[in-house]
């Protein structure tokens, strides 16, 4: 939909009070999102995966902690849909459980990191001066520190059941670049009339940031949060692969891939189900993020 068509549509639906509700920004963006093929595809795949991760374990007689001592390293069969691992654990149950954990970690880490990026960037850009200097230094420092190293050092703290702490640490190393962009955009937003007007009317700075600045950055932040999900999932996988992330007895896709890669040559099912699902998940999240970006800013599409 081009801009002129949109205006036409707005005019047509706008004046009549009894007609359908006027096209809100949300509805326009949703419409554009589902009009694109990659948006539909990514959303559908993601929905299926989430449904599978939540409801899938209910259909299997095995729990992820169960061991079948009559079947070690068996290929997929009617009893074990994805086969069994070296210890006799059901790969189907473990993979779904791992996917649930990975999805949860990815979503939460992305939310926390985007919120952090928005706050730090908006505060630095709005107040400038010393606030900006301190926050920008902090951002630079975290950019320079090797995230993998710090997360790995902290790994003894992420013992069993401590995964929320892991999520927080993961988020702590994902927000820097976005916060720099947010800062730049806040500085330019601050010059706009509506922010100036609010300031001269005596609206407190906190209220300006939360009700005028941040809502105007929402499109950037939403897209960023989506893409952060895939970044968080990939980081989590890599850390867990080396034993620095999710700790046993809990499983994630990373720990499953690590275990599976040892037996992958003669028992491919221990590796490829987890690896395949991980790739599909990240791919779907990336597709959704890309489609969202196009939906928020249709003019950007042509240059990409």
């Amino acid at each position: 939909m081009t801009l002129s068509e949109e205006e036409l549509a707005e005019e047509r639906t706008g004046p009549g009070p009894a007609r359908a509700a006027p096209p809100s920004r949300l509805r326009v963006v949703t419409g554009r999102f589902f009009a694109s093929r990659q948006g539909r595809l990514g959303f559908a795949v993601l929905a299926v995966l989430v449904a599978l991760a939540c409801a899938g374990p209910l259909f299997s007689p095995w729990a992820y902690t169960d061991k079948d001592f009559l079947a070690f390293l068996r290929p997929p069969s009617a009893a074990h849909w994805f086969g069994t691992s070296q210890t006799g654990a059901d790969v189907y149950a473990m993979t779904l459980r791992g996917m649930r954990r990975s999805l949860l970690v990815g979503l939460l880490a992305a939310l926390v990191s985007t919120a952090l990026a928005a706050l730090v960037g908006a505060f630095a850009g709005y107040f400038l001066g010393w606030t900006d200097r301190v926050l920008s230094r902090l951002t630079d420092l975290l950019l320079v520190l090797p995230a993998f190293l710090i997360l790995a050092i902290m790994s003894p703290l992420f013992g069993a059941g401590q995964w929320p702490l892991f999520v927080l640490m993961l988020a702590l190393f994902l927000w820097m670049v976005t916060s720099k962009i947010t800062r730049g955009m806040t500085i330019s937003l601050k010059q706009r009339e509506f922010v100036q007007a609010a300031r001269y009317m005596g609206v407190p700075p906190m209220k300006i940031i939360f009700s005028h600045v941040l809502p105007n950055l929402s499109s950037l932040l939403i897209v960023d949060a989506t893409l952060n999900v895939s970044a968080a999932i990939l980081t989590e996988t890599s850390l867990s692969y080396f034993g620095f992330g999710i700790q046993p007895p809990d499983v994630s896709l990373g720990t499953l891939i690590a275990d599976g890669s040892r037996t992958a040559v003669y028992a491919p099912w221990t590796f490829w189900f987890a690896a395949g699902l991980l790739v599909i998940t990240v791919l779907a999240v990336n597709l959704v993020g890309d489609a969202l970006r196009d939906a928020f800013d249709p003019t950007a599409r042509r240059s990409r």
């Binding site: 230094r137 630079d140 420092l141 950019l143 320079v144 520190l145 090797p146 993998f148 190293l149 710090i150 790995a152 050092i153 902290m154 790994s155 003894p156 703290l157 895939s230 990939l234 996988t237 890599s238 692969y241 080396f242 620095f244 990373g254 891939i257 690590a258 890669s261 992958a264 040559v265 491919p268 590796f271 690896a275 991980l278 790739v279 599909i280 990240v282 791919l283 990336n286 597709l287 240059s303 990409r304």
Partner: protein
């Protein structure tokens, strides 16, 4: 200009110092070298363990601040302390940096050159079959984590050895065959056979990123006036695209290249670990498992230096290719 550079340099040095100190304090606080002696048989007497740890500046009974000052004093003199086994950290890391360099160099060159070419070609033939294919491939590759890619490469290599070549052509694990005596060409071939799979792993990811990046930049440039002018002047489309289009589109990509190079120094961790190359990245992981505080801090310091050098190099290259940047910066800095 000199003042601007000096101020930036000072800021960077401070940033490295803070980052390295923070990494040391974190590592010294979280890692426990004493645990290394706990499950040795026969169990060494506590006094001996204490003496050894103090000698290595790893004793957790010394106050953290004093340990930090000893370490920082050493670093200022270029001494990164000693590892848990008593070997100097600096020497070990210097040797390993060489290994990492040999591993990353070929992958980086292959990845960036092929990526740029793919992206440029895809942009020129926008929405052609190559564009669609490379876009889809890049999307899939960007979703594959390095651990899966590396393990996939190993599996594919094993399969190719069995089914295609009939004997072991592609070697998995290590940098070269130990004790091989085959003259210069023989050992070079041996090294290449070891290098093939890790290089493919490294370059595939880079090709995906670089081709996306280059395609975007190239598309921006293609519609620009100066391309039209160049063609109006009588240059063929091919010449105009290569001489004027590609060169302009390369500017932001060069910036990205510098950052990638800096990050890959320690970022090849997964590739190194999985293919058994004894480089910096592998040391990073093993040093955490062996509670090797000094090595961890040294690697963190090195990584910070690498990132800042890369950002300097990126700025310099950018200014070199695009004179407007330099003018704006110098004026902006006053």
């Amino acid at each position: 200009m000199a003042g601007f550079l000096a101020r930036r340099l000072l800021g960077s040095v401070l940033l490295v110092a803070v980052a390295a100190s923070l990494a040391y304090l974190l590592a010294a606080g979280a890692l426990d070298p004493r645990a290394n002696y706990a499950d040795r048989t026969p169990k060494p007497p506590p006094a001996v363990v204490d003496a050894r740890l103090t000698e290595l500046n790893l004793n957790d009974r010394t106050p953290l601040l004093r340990r930090y000052l000893t370490w920082a004093g050493g670093v200022l003199h270029g001494d990164f302390g000693r590892s848990v086994t008593g070997t100097p950290v600096g020497e070990d890391l210097a040797r390993r940096a060489g290994v990492t360099f040999r591993l990353v160099l070929l992958g980086l060159v292959c990845g960036s050159v092929l990526g740029v070419l793919c992206g440029a070609y895809a942009a020129v033939r926008q929405y052609g079959w190559f564009d669609r294919l490379s876009t889809a491939a890049a999307f899939v590759l960007l979703a594959v984590p390095v651990v899966v890619l590396a393990n996939g490469a190993i599996l594919a290599g094993t399969w190719a050895n069995d089914q295609v070549f009939g004997h072991r052509v592609l070697l998995v694990g290590g940098e070269y065959t130990a004790g091989l005596d085959a003259g210069f060409w023989g050992s070079l071939l041996d090294r290449l056979r070891h290098l093939a799979l890790p290089t493919i792993t490294l370059s595939l990811g880079l090709i995906a990123v670089f081709s996306r990046y280059q395609r975007t930049m190239m598309l921006d440039v293609l519609g620009a006036d100066f391309i039209r002018t160049a063609m109006a002047k009588g240059l063929s489309r091919r010449r105009a695209l290569i001489r004027h289009g590609l060169r302009t589109a390369l500017i932001p990509v060069v910036t990205y290249f510098a950052f990638t190079t800096g990050a890959l120094l320690t970022g090849a961790t997964f590739t190194e670990k999985i293919f058994g190359w004894h480089g910096l990245g592998e040391r990073l992981i093993s040093s955490i498992f062996t509670n090797d505080v000094n090595t961890v801090a040294a690697i963190a310091c090195l990584a910070a230096v690498a990132v800042l050098c890369a950002s300097f190099a990126a700025d310099a290259l950018h200014a070199l290719l695009d004179p407007r940047v330099l003018d704006a910066r110098v004026r902006g800095a006053g």
